[in-house]
């Protein structure tokens, strides 16, 4: 017992004795060398990403089990989502993932200006993504495409536009084929309406949680941009850029699955 305490105390004293002279300024005292510090930080981030995957998985599992039980609800509700906006957002996020990966390369090579430009482009992409998301959300709000009991979608003025799958599910309950201008939700049976409400609850939870992650990513990217501007990063030390980029890629990964699962249901 005593000997271990002494050894620990000695080691501590030894560590203190090193002083700051022969250490790079970014190296923390509990790490032997920059490589070890980098590996530890990266390992920590991957463990964090594991918790993120599981965090999102709760909603993905809800989605999957609900869709397995009620495929008709998903086919119906997906008609109200705009595939073009979803695809555009996918492309925007992919480009941002590319620029941030390029940014990591810039940091590794000490290209400060290019790193800053790439971070700005990534930020602009993130802003575009949120802008398109805003357009989608406000459209859904005005059309009554909301969650649970708040769902009260209305057919468009042109009755020709009512998709087959909608007619199919409305006919079963109401007297005939739904008319334009008639609330679509009213043509649905109570249980169908409830299930469609659940689909939109899942939609808003999944895209909302993802959107929050995009916003957090934007804060991180801004912080990285400021630090890059202050000249904090070098080929020897760019850990924050690397880890920030990994986080941003995860945000992209989640969307890669969200897009086909929500927008591309026939």
């Amino acid at each position: 017992m005593t000997s271990t305490t002494v050894t620990a105390a000695e080691a501590h004293a030894h560590g203190e004795g090193h002083g700051h002279g022969d250490h790079p300024p970014f190296l923390q005292h509990h790490f032997t060398d920059p490589a070890q510090q980098f590996d530890a930080a990266k390992l920590g981030l991957w463990v964090f990403l594991l918790t993120e995957v599981l965090f999102f998985s709760a909603l993905f599992v809800l989605y999957t089990s609900y869709r397995a039980l009620h495929p008709e609800v998903f086919a119906y509700a997906s008609n109200f989502l705009d595939t073009n906006l979803g695809a555009t957002n996918t492309a925007v996020l992919l480009v941002s993932s590319f620029t941030v990966a390029w940014g990591v390369r810039n940091a590794q090579l000490g290209q400060r200006k290019l790193l800053m430009i790439n971070l700005v482009i990534t930020l602009l992409c993130a802003g575009t993504f949120m802008g398109i998301k805003y357009v989608e959300y406000s459209h859904k709000y005005h059309e009554g495409l909301l969650w649970g009991g708040n769902h009260h979608s209305i057919f468009k003025a042109d009755a020709e536009e009512i998709p087959e799958s909608v007619k199919e599910h409305s006919k079963a309950w109401s007297t005939g084929i739904p008319e334009a201008g008639v609330p679509a939700a009213k043509a649905l049976s109570p249980s169908m309406r409830r299930k469609v409400g659940t689909f939109f609850a899942t939609y808003f939870l999944l895209t909302g949680l993802h959107g929050i992650h995009v916003l957090i990513g934007m804060i991180l990217l801004t912080w990285l941009l400021i630090r890059a501007g202050l000249g904090h990063f070098s080929p020897e030390y760019y850990t924050p850029v690397d880890l920030g980029a990994l986080y941003w890629h995860l945000v992209d990964l989640v969307w890669i699955f969200l897009f086909p699962l929500l927008y591309l249901i026939r």
Binding site: L94, H249, I256
Partner: protein, 113 residues
């Protein structure tokens, strides 16, 4: 195919060409999934969409996230998270299937009222 990732002579720098190629591949795959999503694939729609999404995700993980050159342990952690999601999904699906008859019974009652 560099497998000397366990040495400490500094981290791997991905060539710009590779990054551009990955971006183009990802955009093409997105176009492909939009096209196949609009086609009638006879019940395989979801499977095709998921396969394309998984391919895209794998490319992002291996190249953009450096897992191809990174320490294997980091990749193992990520793989582990995917396996845990599979386990999660399996148990929830079993449970949801188990309770479905009583849910349907309730809905039939509701319709009768």
């Amino acid at each position: 195919m560099s497998h000397d990732s366990h040495t400490h002579d500094g981290p791997h720098v991905v060539p710009l060409k590779t990054l551009v190629a990955v971006l183009i591949a990802l955009l093409l795959l997105t176009g492909l999934t939009v096209v196949t999503g609009k086609m009638d694939l006879g019940g395989f729609d979801l499977a095709v969409a998921l396969v394309i999404a998984t391919v895209k995700a794998t490319i992002v993980c291996l190249i953009f996230m450096h897992l191809f050159w990174d320490r294997r342990f980091n990749g193992l952690i990520f793989l582990f998270s995917v396996m845990l999601v599979g386990l999660f999904l399996a148990f929830v699906s079993l449970d949801a299937g188990e309770y479905q008859p009583s849910v349907e019974e309730y809905e039939i009652q509701e319709l009768a009222e």
